[in-house]
Amino acid sequence: STDEPVTGPSGGPPSTGAGTGEQSKFFVSADYEAELAMLGATATGPAGKPWEQVLNPTMVDTASFKKAGPHKICFSNAALNNPWRQVGFKTMQAEVETHRDKIAEFVHVDAEGKDQKQIADINDLLGKDCDALIVSPNTTATLTPAVEAACRTGVPVIVFDRGVDTTCPVTYINPIGGYGFGHVGAEFVAQKMKPGGKVLALRILPGVDVLETRWSAAKLVFDRAKVDVVGVEFTDGDPAKTKKIVDDYLQRYGTIDGIWMDAGAVAVAAVEAFQDAGKPVPPINGEDQLDFLRMWKDQKLTAIAPTYPTYQWRTPIIAALRILDGEQVSNPWKLPQPTITEQNLDEYLDPDMPPLHYAMCGCTGLPGYPQRWK
């Protein structure tokens, strides 16, 4: 017998980068255009509940999955190894609690950031009579065969956050995405910095699609604006490493006029590096993590925070229940992806939450708030 996916594995997405010769293979021009278009689109769905809203919905039929409750919902999680995922997972658990009547059991398996383990985990879950399977894949290409195998068992599969290279899941849920994130940050930095200045791009790690797309969009902006990107460095999300890198660049170039980041986790460390060196903090982008938002407010930074909201962790549960009720859902399910600017900054500042909490958790109304997230 075999668990092999019928379609066989597929490679990475084709690299079409018309006019962007230097782009990485992660750059898909059509997706890029679509995402930028979505930044301006209005979402449908209940107001004030962005996790239920959809941008450009394309509904799919799910009648074949209709099933009487209560359900057993299974979740194969890539990892719980950073605050973003921790906040998201707590939000997901709280969401599950709001559906106690419909969800009899919620099974969660943590792959600890290992592709190999996640493939085994998915296989394991397939033997557990799950009514729906939610997957947050660790790596796009390598998890594709396992997700395909899951689809073939007939269980409704819902993928969110990072994607897979197959359309077999019932739906793929995530916010607008990396191109949007990267573009917003880069546009801001390019506009606010002194013309012809030097930008340092700080990245977490290579190879994760949602992060790669952020950088490829940013690169496009900087190329067009003829900004001098003096360095692209990986920080591993380590604040100490970040500070050292920024410090070194300040040594080397005397001044840096803009900082672009593909994720906000180490934004505070980057800002501190300027402060500690006694240099003015240049235009910078972070994310919706509270430590950065507070610093932005307190230090009056020239900043912006594109987001990749953690409220997206609520949506897979909602989607699963809708699918099991036979209701139509959108595929892909694109969630709004708000940007925090100087104008709306105050809305997101919550002095009671811990510094590494993400403002866009959409969790204030959920059971256990705020204690669960502290």
Binding site: N81, P83, D238, D248, E272, D276, P354, L356
Partner: protein
């Protein structure tokens, strides 16, 4: 594996800090050529300050290595202490001092446990401290639900972040640098004391030491405690420098061991100086800075680092007489 024919005796005492000083000198010359401003007081001070934690960890690791053991747990100990400090202080400046004391005491305690397991249960220290690495990381994640909570106070952070301002000539002198200098002097004095000499003797030949009345297990345990303490101080400086994160100490054990070996200290014990170990750490940090000045891409740096380590260690292995 190796022939046992002793090679010709060397005029230089093996394990001394001379070779590492030579490497450091070469790197400094390269810096001076490529980025002369780096050697200006302001940037040099900041460089030394931010290098303080790894220098301390190298010193701590030195005690353990020179006594013939390994400590793989220091990186995760640093992480654990930073995370614990943040959660306990939770932004409240009044808790700074008690928590700092707790950090030091608990780090020493972890060292004590490492030492006791190694010398009483006779578990090779590689395994003891590997297990401890897993336990510490797991426990601290478990305790904090997988993401650091709370916040370090400004008072806590100043040791790793702030400086004595307006010093003549030097400008800002980071507290971290002062702390590391103080501890370096203490470490050097310690290594010249009876205890220090005994520690090296234990690493050289534990049987001979034991038959001369040395309490080998106790001596090695103290070395682990010292390594734990160094990790505690490093945690205070590193937490201060960059704030709380789960990455705070990751991989530092390997950097520290590498630094110690670069500094002329023999794995297996019995040879090398604590000054050499600390200079090894400084050299490693300078190497990173240099790679930046030469624009070596971040992703290629590990390769350059690996090549230089292999080269440096191969050269000194070829120079030193076989055991």
């Amino acid at each position: 594996m190796q022939d046992t024919l002793p090679r010709r005796a060397l005029p230089v005492r093996a394990g001394g800090p001379l070779p590492i000083l030579a490497i450091l000198g070469v790197l400094l010359v390269l810096v001076a050529i490529r980025q002369p401003d780096f050697l200006a007081p302001a940037s040099l001070m900041s460089f030394l300050g931010r290098s303080a934690p790894i220098i301390l960890l190298a010193a701590g690791q030195y005690f353990v290595i020179v006594s013939g053991e390994f400590d793989l747990s220091v990186g995760s100990l640093v992480t654990a202490e930073v995370v614990i400090a943040a959660r306990l202080i939770d932004g409240d400046p009044d808790r700074t001092w008690p928590v700092m004391a707790l950090v030091l005491v608990s780090a020493a305690f972890v060292g004590l446990v490492n030492g006791l397991i190694t010398s009483w249960l006779r578990v090779p220290s590689f395994i003891t401290t590997l297990g401890m690495l897993l336990i510490l990381v797991g426990a601290v994640y478990l305790w904090s639900d997988g993401s650091p909570k709370g916040e370090l106070s400004e008072q806590f952070r100043r040791f790793g972040r702030r400086a004595v301002e307006d010093v003549p000539v030097l400008g800002r002198v980071p507290y971290a640098l002062l702390i590391v200098l103080l501890l370096a002097v203490l470490a050097t004095v310690l290594m010249r004391s009876d205890f220090g000499r005994i520690l090296v003797a234990v690493g050289d030949n534990p049987r001979a030491a034991e038959l001369s009345g040395v309490r080998v297990g106790r001596t090695r345990t103290i070395a682990f405690v010292l390594s734990g303490c160094a990790a505690g101080v490093a945690a205070i400086l590193l937490g201060g420098y960059s704030g709380v994160s789960f990455q705070a100490g990751s991989g530092l054990e390997f950097s520290a061991i590498t630094a110690v070996v670069l500094g002329g200290v023999a794995l297996g014990g019995g040879r090398g100086s604590v000054a050499g170990a600390m200079l090894g750490a400084l050299t490693l940090e300078l190497l990173f800075a240099l790679m930046n000045f030469f624009g070596v891409s971040g992703t290629v740096r590990p390769a350059v680092q690996g090549a230089i380590i292999l080269l440096a260690v191969a050269v000194s292995a070829a120079r030193s007489p076989s055991r």
